[in-house]
């Protein structure tokens, strides 16, 4: 029972420990910060922000945490809290045009969003919790996913006060992301990614607020919080837009300088919005309102009737109705800046990029600021991302590494198309990155950071001609201890416990880029094939469904639902692989296209085998546009960058399709011919990447070993000492000597109390006493079944302990027979004797069976026996081997008179052969007729001890010679 209780206690303790509430996360302080932006720094915007003071207190580095497109500051609240607990001052904000911030979406433009964030940095520099590098220059890092990642990159390019960044799943060139062209000819001839573009732009308006929350709000969660949340696409009910019911007017709190409107009260971050319905409040009146507001409301969150986000912000300055009607412009463009909206409408209509569009998109992209990001950057990109594929991370990494700044790259499992966003891992990696580059770099444990920061000031960027790869390698050499320069999340198989897929992180000391550390040429074969472009571009092949990528299954599990349509695709296939091939990067193939005019094709590389659905890694496709000629146009295609192991026996299948649902394709029907210009498919590999060996968990060997030790200790500590079992030579011929025997019941009452007597050879001793006198308890102790509390029993000079060898000279029958009911009487006796391990000849089985007198019944199962039969069989069992000492407890119970008479004879003759018999009984006549000696017990104590004749002679005292009278007399004296 103790074991069970111990286990239960352990279990309860473990559960308690698990569910014990942990310290509540920091709540954060909601506030608004007013900024001025625009090309002329004349546009006033109120940024809705939340500041989380570092949980560690004191001055700490700050982190600016940006949100995804369609999200708001609340999308990143969880990560912000975790970072604050990790010892950072964290500022989250809703970008202009999102959440409760005013302004219009300018797509992370240097004139707008970047200026806003620069002023947030100004604000951080005023905070007492934030550590400063110099006056007005806080120690600050930036992180965020997607839109929030791009603002990190852009701000880093325009503001040297940013010290480290960790952008995730974001773009390098927004124009290229929306108009990709796998031939490398740039977005001008790129294929319009219409579905993603539509989702992206609609996320900025209110029209598809729910969807945008799903697509982008969910992705904002990539920076942490949700753990292994599956899909970025399906989840985001946390979209923050609310419907436009309030008054569209926003009272802006205007102060002449950007910053918080904290003047007057000194409470940080206080600001209130006037509820005036005047759409365009002048800066002056705004300032006045602020003064009163700050005084009255203190540091409170925005009131519930705060600016409604559906309203177009004030900056246009135009009079607008105070009611809820929306202008067609608003309906069309939502909160986008009109110029962006117009350009989007134009390109979406045409399905082609315009020069203005490319210019505008590139101004919002890191591609426009080469060599300007010179700070430590951790670039995290998703392998399941058809919006911003890995090539964008590659371009960012190369550009930053070319300046000599440390860069590390991680390809996580999930991206904008779903998959596992690895929130916890990304958070840990990001936090570790900031720990290295933002926390005190002068500490001895961080030499790499110290070295970098010493030289960073003087070290000019390497010349543009320098090989970026080399630089990347060099910087990787100085990379952070504990983090790998290049990490790729790979399928780790199924966790045996949870039966879920796990991810392992293969690490390399150096980021190899998309061309890998080595290339393998795989020969593709296939004839020239005719492909048709269907009229209207429909039906279309399916690779990914933007925003709902997880619907197509997770390619890491080997299930993929990519679909090609017959007649619209050309297929080239390799021979089955003879050895596994691990593709890491972007394979290239060269094709030739015959036809006329612009041909749009979609190149896909499948992992195929006969008999199963082919897998399209990452559900990615590389769109390309070539100018076909009848004599053939050759094009080299950069296939989507992926990390994929092709097992032995699999084939690589290159498919060129004319349609893809996610892209805009020509409506005109046409037929082209496609052939391989070169049979070689160049597959980049990176043999350096290796997942850390995951041996069995430490407890798999430690736990059984320690359990074994515990078990041995448990067994050994409870061992019975053997020393006392040696024979006392003086008593070697005394069948039984009991000295001072005492046994208490559990309640403390004594069952046997200081009992002492001695039995000599040849005696038939009667143990006499009323029920409860302690006879049976004494006999049990005699057999070693129960442990005496005091005193000892010696049989032939050897002390009785459980299992003492001397017990083999004792035959016993105590408290009823004990047989295996399914065996016959003979089998029972035989097996009992065999269980004693003694020679069969010593058993005297036939004599014993004769005493039992069972006749033919001896071969029947014992369960058919009567009480008397069992009794006799048990006495026979006690006599097996003719023991020197026979102990029988109420042997005549259940016997009929002739059998009783017979039994008396048996016992007397048994003792006559120099053996000893002890018979307990409460029947006085029985003892009188059978026994030579008697021990009388009452309430556990010895009352009388001696020959029966002597006992009877005591009867003279009261004139009776009947044992009954003597007995009653004896008891009566004691009572």
């Amino acid at each position: 029972m103790t074991a069970v209780i111990a286990l239960a206690v352990l279990a309860v303790a473990a559960i308690t420990w698990t569910v014990w509430p942990s310290e509540p996360p920091p709540r954060g302080q909601d506030l608004t910060i007013d900024v001025l932006d625009g090309p002329a720094n004349d546009q006033r915007v109120t940024i809705d922000a939340t500041f989380f003071a570092p949980a560690s207190g004191g001055k700490a580095p700050a982190v600016l945490l940006g949100h995804g497109f369609g999200g708001s500051k609340s999308s990143v609240r969880d990560q912000a809290q975790r970072l604050a607990q990790h010892g950072y001052a964290v500022l989250t904000w809703s970008a202009r045009g999102f959440g409760r911030s005013t302004g219009e979406i300018a797509l992370n433009s240097p004139d707008y969003e970047v200026k806003d964030v620069q002023q947030l940095v100004d604000w951080l520099a005023t905070r007492p919790e934030v550590r400063l590098d110099a006056a007005g220059d806080p120690r600050v890092g930036m992180a965020g996913g997607s839109y929030g990642g791009a603002i990190a990159l852009m701000t880093a390019a325009y503001d040297t006060r940013i010290d480290a960044i960790a952008p995730q799943i974001t773009w390098h060139d927004l124009a290229d992301a929306l108009f990709p062209n796998a031939t490398g000819q740039g977005p001008a001839t790129g294929v319009f990614k219409k579905m993603w573009a539509g989702i992206f732009f609609s996320a900025g308006g209110n029209r598809l607020a729910g969807l945008s929350g799903g697509a982008s709000g969910g992705l904002a969660g990539l920076t942490g919080g949700t753990g292994t949340g599956g899909s970025g696409g399906a989840g985001g009910l946390g979209g923050t837009s609310t419907s436009g019911t309030g008054t569209p007017g926003t009272g802006t709190s205007g102060t002449s300088t950007p910053g918080t409107s904290t003047s007057g009260t000194g409470t940080p971050g206080t600001s209130t919005s006037g509820t005036g319905t005047s759409g365009a409040s002048t800066p002056g009146s705004g300032a006045g309102e602020t003064g009163t507001g700050a005084g009255s409301t203190g540091a409170s969150p925005a009131p519930t009737n705060a600016p409604d986000i559906s309203g177009t912000p004030e900056t246009s300055g135009s009079e607008r109705p105070a009611a809820m009607g929306l202008t067609p412009q608003q309906v069309q463009c939502g909160r986008f800046m009109p110029t962006i909206c117009d350009i989007y409408q134009e390109i979406a209509e045409k399905g082609q990029a315009t020069p203005q569009a490319i210019d505008l998109l590139r101004r919002s992209s890191p591609v426009s600021v080469p060599g300007k990001i010179r700070i430590p950057s951790l670039i995290i990109q998703g392998q399941r991302d058809s919006l911003f594929p890995l090539s964008h991370a590659d371009a960012n990494a190369r550009a930053i590494a070319a300046t000599g700044a440390p860069v590390e790259v991680a390809w996580i499992n999930g991206g904008h198309d779903g998959g596992d966003s690895e929130g916890d891992w990304v958070f840990d990696r990001t936090a570790a990155w900031f720990d290295t580059w933002l926390k005190d770099s002068a500490t001895p444990g961080n030499p790499a950071a110290a070295a970098y920061q010493q030289t960073a000031g003087q070290n000019p960027a390497p010349t543009a001609g320098q090989n970026a790869d080399q630089t990347a390698g060099k910087s990787a050499a100085t990379a952070v201890p504990g983090g790998a320069a290049f990490t790729v999340s790979r399928d780790g198989g199924r966790d045996p416990g949870t039966r879920r897929n796990t991810i392992v992180h293969a690490e390399g000391s150096r980021y190899s880029g998309l061309s890998g550390t080595a290339q393998t040429a795989v020969t593709l074969t296939g004839p020239a094939q005719e492909v048709a472009n269907p009229p209207g571009g429909s039906p279309a092949a399916i690779s990914s469904i933007p925003g709902f990528g997880s619907l197509l299954g997770n390619s890491s599990t080997g299930v993929s639902a990519a679909l090609d349509l017959p007649g619209q695709s050309a297929t080239f296939e390799s021979a089955p692989l003879r050895a596994p091939l691990h593709l890491t990067g972007s394979p290239t193939a060269t094709i030739r296209v015959y036809g006329t005019g612009q041909v749009t094709l979609f190149a896909k590389l499948y992992d195929a085998t006969t008999g199963q659905l082919a897998v399209l890694p990452g559900n990615l496709t590389a769109p390309l546009r070539v100018n076909a000629t009848p004599s053939g146009t050759t094009a080299t295609i950069a296939l989507p960058a992926v990390d994929r192991r092709f097992d032995t026996g699999r084939t690589l299948r290159l498919v060129l399709a004319t349609t893809d649902m996610a892209y805009s394709t020509p409506a005109t029907p046409a037929v082209y011919q496609v052939e391989l210009a070169s049979p070689d498919l160049v597959v980049p590999t990176d043999g350096e990447l290796s997942a850390p060996a995951t041996g069995p968990a430490w407890w798999t060997w430690a736990m059984p070993l320690s359990a074994l030790v515990v078990a041995i200790v448990l067994v050994l500590v409870g061992r019975v000492r053997r020393a006392d079992t040696t024979q006392d030579p003086e008593l070697a011929d005394v069948p039984l000597q009991i000295t001072g025997l005492t046994k208490r019941y559990r309640n403390g009452e004594k069952a046997v109390d200081d009992l002492s007597f001695r039995v000599e050879r040849g005696q038939v001793l009667g143990l006499l006493g009323p029920n409860g006198a302690g006879k049976t308890t004494t006999m049990r102790m005699l057999m070693g079944l129960i442990h005496p509390d005091a005193g000892e029993i010696k049989i032939f000079g050897s002390k009785v302990v459980p299992g003492a060898p001397v017990l083999s000279r004792l035959g016993s029958f105590v408290e009823g027979p004990g047989f295996l009911p399914h065996l016959s009487g003979r089998d029972n006796l035989e097996l009992y004797w065999r269980a004693t391990g003694r020679p069969p000849a010593d058993a005297h089985l036939d004599e014993a069976l004769e005493i039992a007198g069972l006749g033919n019944a001896v071969d029947r199962a014992v369960r058919t026996y009567s009480q008397g039969m069992r009794q006799r069989l048990a006495i026979a069992q006690a006599m097996l081997g003719l023991p020197d000492l026979l102990v029988l407890d109420e042997p005549t119970n259940g016997l009929d008179p002739p059998q009783i008479a017979e039994m008396r004879k048996v016992l007397r003759s048994y003792a006559a052969k120099d053996r000893t018999v002890i018979v307990s009984s409460h029947l006085l006549g029985e003892v009188e007729q059978t026994c030579s000696h008697a021990v009388v017990m009452h309430r556990g104590r010895l009352i009388s001890n001696g020959p029966v004749a002597e006992l009877l002679s005591r009867g003279h005292l009261n004139g009776s010679t009947r044992l009954e009278d003597v007995f009653l007399d004896l008891i009566g004296e004691q009572v």
Binding site: A14, P496, T700, A707, L714, G803, S808
Partner: protein, 282 residues
């Protein structure tokens, strides 16, 4: 050591053969083995009579693949019996062994024979574990026989992926699976054994062990326990399925073995310790 009777040696008491015979002739032993051996045939009949199961190969669940061949059928039979039937069998053999002797009162005569208590327990444990191992083995072996006769000797089709592994490659893995099934039932055996020395009621010991398995299975369903669940005695009971995957993954089985051995060692040690000090009053 002449204190004992002539020919008595503690090390010769209760030979395994004697204990095996004592237990084997019991009705519950015979019925349990009869049931275990009949189960595969009952399943075969059930599959034969199943209404309109035209065996669509698209479905890749273990139960749908059971008729693909003898090996698949054996794997299926093991998976359906492991969760409860085998647990009951093991609990019966290990939980009944001492408690029933106490119940019949024969325990005190064995101890007074005398069979040293540690030795009595050791011999009984060995025999009980032997019967348990036989129970765990007999189901897949009989299923292999029945499945091969009825469905043919075919290569095994892996559930989930549908891949085919040659029968010859799988047989050694099958031995591993059976071995693992035995080890994973060690916890049940140890709990039953500990209860067996603690109570005079055989049904209590068996029921207690089965009850523990049920409680553990329930706790296993509580996701909130997270990683702690890995240490529940039943958590890894189905890990043997990993050995039949195209790329066998033994990490789960290793953890399962570790957990099972840990519990078993400590519980059995408690059983010995407890029995050694116990007053046998039944």
């Amino acid at each position: 050591m002449s204190t004992g009777a002539i020919g008595y040696a503690p090390g010769h008491t209760l030979p395994l053969r004697v204990e095996i015979i004592r237990q084997f002739k019991r009705r519950r032993t015979l019925i349990m083995f009869g049931l275990l051996m009949a189960l595969p045939w009952i399943l075969v009949i059930a599959f034969q009579f199943g209404p309109g199961n035209n065996n669509n190969q698209n479905s890749l669940r273990l139960s749908d693949l059971a008729t693909a061949g003898g090996l698949n059928f054996a794997a299926f039979a093991l998976s359906v019996s492991a969760s409860f039937l085998l647990v009951v069998a093991v609990a019966l053999f290990c939980g009944d062994t001492v408690a029933s002797e106490a119940n019949w009162s024969s325990l005190r005569y064995l101890l007074a024979a005398p069979i040293p208590r540690d030795r009595l327990l050791r011999q009984k444990l060995i025999v009980a574990l032997g019967y348990s191992a036989a129970a765990v083995t007999v189901v897949p072996l009989m299923a292999l026989l029945a499945g091969t006769i009825v469905f043919g000797w075919n290569d095994i089709t892996v559930p989930g992926t549908g891949e085919i592994i040659p029968a010859g490659d799988v047989l050694p893995k099958f031995a591993i699976v059976i071995g693992y099934a035995m080890v994973s039932n060690l916890v049940v055996a140890a709990v039953a054994f500990l209860l067996s020395v603690s109570t005079d009621s055989p049904l209590g010991a068996v029921g207690g062990a089965v009850g523990l398995v049920i409680v553990s299975s329930i706790l296993q369903a509580v996701e909130a326990l997270g990683g702690l669940r890995e240490f529940l005695p039943t958590f890894w009971n189905t890990a043997w399925l990993d050995a039949l995957a195209p790329v066998p993954d033994y990490s789960g089985m290793i953890k399962g073995v570790a957990v099972a051995l840990t519990y078993a060692a400590i519980l059995i040690a408690f059983a010995f310790r407890r029995f050694r000090r116990k007053d046998v009053v039944s």
